[in-house]
């Protein structure tokens, strides 16, 4: 109890926890769950965008998309490394993902149907992700916090490239504008769902906030995202797909309809449009890569043997 008390005092003083420090088991488990889920999201998030690499409209667009997807893979690796400092192995995390025990962001279970979807993902999905990640730079676990700093710095171009695509299409031909509006219609609500359940329905939030793993509540972050994104949509001349959306002069915030939580729960439970496809693809690629890992391990073992023989 003494230890727990000191731990809380340390956290309350805005000190960061490092891998070798004492921490409650529940703090360790909470971080492993959150960081590995975050890592899986980065990696699975490569799939919907990867769908458009070979069909990017210009070489410029293709190079940018490749660089962005490479960043997402890199971000997954930063986060897996941060989670590993807590005593879980990479193999365990991947096994948990494949067994459905570890989740990834539900937003990546939606399909990318037209090129404007790539714009909408950068603008909205990355916009929502970065809103959360900016807040997480101040998370109490040191390695997670440092990974967030790196990621936020690198993400700064992701949202802009997405908005650039949206702008080109929204100011383009009527057909292009229609595609941009269609992408906004389909990605708006899944983006708002990225912040998770309402605060009063989020059982884990309380401990997460107490231990400063989370630095802002789901609803607070969601509102922050809505407030900065609505004017950006207006600039594009596109309509947010929410008839109840309105500016509240008194609160200084936008008001929206409530999220379709039934859809959210269905997607979380594995019944979204692409859940099976995303997971099958990950399992397949992971299995196909097994020989590379085996060959590398065999080569390293052989090198070691040769060194001992010499």
């Amino acid at each position: 109890m003494e230890k727990l008390h000191d731990f809380q005092r340390f956290i309350d003083a805005e000190e960061k926890i490092e891998p070798k420090d004492w921490m409650p088991d529940e703090y360790r488990a909470h971080n492993i769950r959150q960081i590995s889920q975050h890592a899986h999201s980065e990696v699975i998030g490569m799939q919907p965008e990867g769908n458009w690499i070979t069909r990017a409209p210009t070489l410029r667009a293709k190079k940018i998309l490749l660089a962005k997807i490479q960043d997402e893979g890199g971000h997954g690796l930063y986060l897996y490394s941060a989670a590993e400092t807590l005593g879980i192995s990479r193999d365990e995390m991947i096994a948990q993902l494949h067994a459905g025990k570890a989740k990834y962001s539900s937003v990546f279970n939606y399909p990318t149907l037209n090129w404007a979807d790539i714009g909408a993902i950068g603008w909205l999905v990355d916009g929502a992700a970065v809103t959360n990640q900016l807040s997480l730079r101040r998370t109490s676990y040191g390695p997670y916090s440092r990974a967030m700093l790196r990621i936020c710095n690198e993400e700064s171009f992701h949202q802009r490239q997405g908005y650039e695509i949206m702008l080109k299409m929204a100011k383009g031909t009527p057909e292009q504008k229609e595609m941009a509006q269609d992408a906004l219609n389909r990605w708006w609500w899944p983006s708002l769902m990225m912040f998770g359940p309402h605060d009063n329905h989020s059982e884990r939030s309380t401990k997460g906030m107490l231990w400063k793993i989370k630095r802002a509540s789901n609803d607070e972050l969601r509102q922050r995202f809505i407030d900065k994104t609505v004017p950006q949509a207006e600039f594009l001349g596109l309509t947010i797909p929410d008839p109840k959306l309105r500016w509240n002069e008194a609160t200084g915030h936008y008001e929206t309809s409530d999220i379709n939580w039934e859809e959210f729960n269905q997607v979380i439970q594995g019944n979204g449009p692409c859940n099976k496809e995303r997971m099958d693809h990950h399992k397949q690629v992971h299995a196909e890569g097994a020989w590379v890992r085996e060959a590398a391990a065999a080569y390293a073992a052989r090198q070691k043997e040769q060194l001992q023989e010499a």
Binding site: E14, E15, K16, E18, R60, K63, I64, A67, D71, G142, S145, R146, E154, S156, F157, Q159, R160, Q161, Y163, E164, L167, K228, P231, Q232, F235
Partner: protein, 99 residues
């Protein structure tokens, strides 16, 4: 372990300090020591006399793998020719905020 050739001082350890809680560990210098504990104590005595750091790491120098400076240019080459990795590559129209 060529850099660890035995002399009377013991092997070399590289020292990393963390200035404040949560900050990245940064290389400070190196010390000689015969074991981990002595390495930590020597590093403390040598590199933390002024400001109290929040963390200190010592790593056997022989265990560090580094890029040969002569190879650095071609090794890192692909990193800086992709201007589109930087936000300044994209023009944000006047009137658009928080992007």
């Amino acid at each position: 372990m060529t850099s660890n050739h035995t002399d009377s001082q013991g092997p070399v350890w590289e020292v990393f300090t963390q200035k404040k809680s949560g900050a990245p560990y940064q290389h400070a210098g190196s010390v000689h020591a015969f074991d981990k504990e002595m390495a930590l104590e020597n590093a403390r005595d040598l590199y933390t006399r002024r400001d109290k750091p929040s963390g200190l790491w010592v790593v056997p120098a022989a265990e560090i793998v580094a890029v040969d400076p002569g190879d650095a240019a071609p090794f890192f080459d692909p990193a800086d020719d992709k201007v589109y990795r930087h936000p300044t590559f994209y023009e944000v129209p006047a009137g658009v905020e928080n992007l």
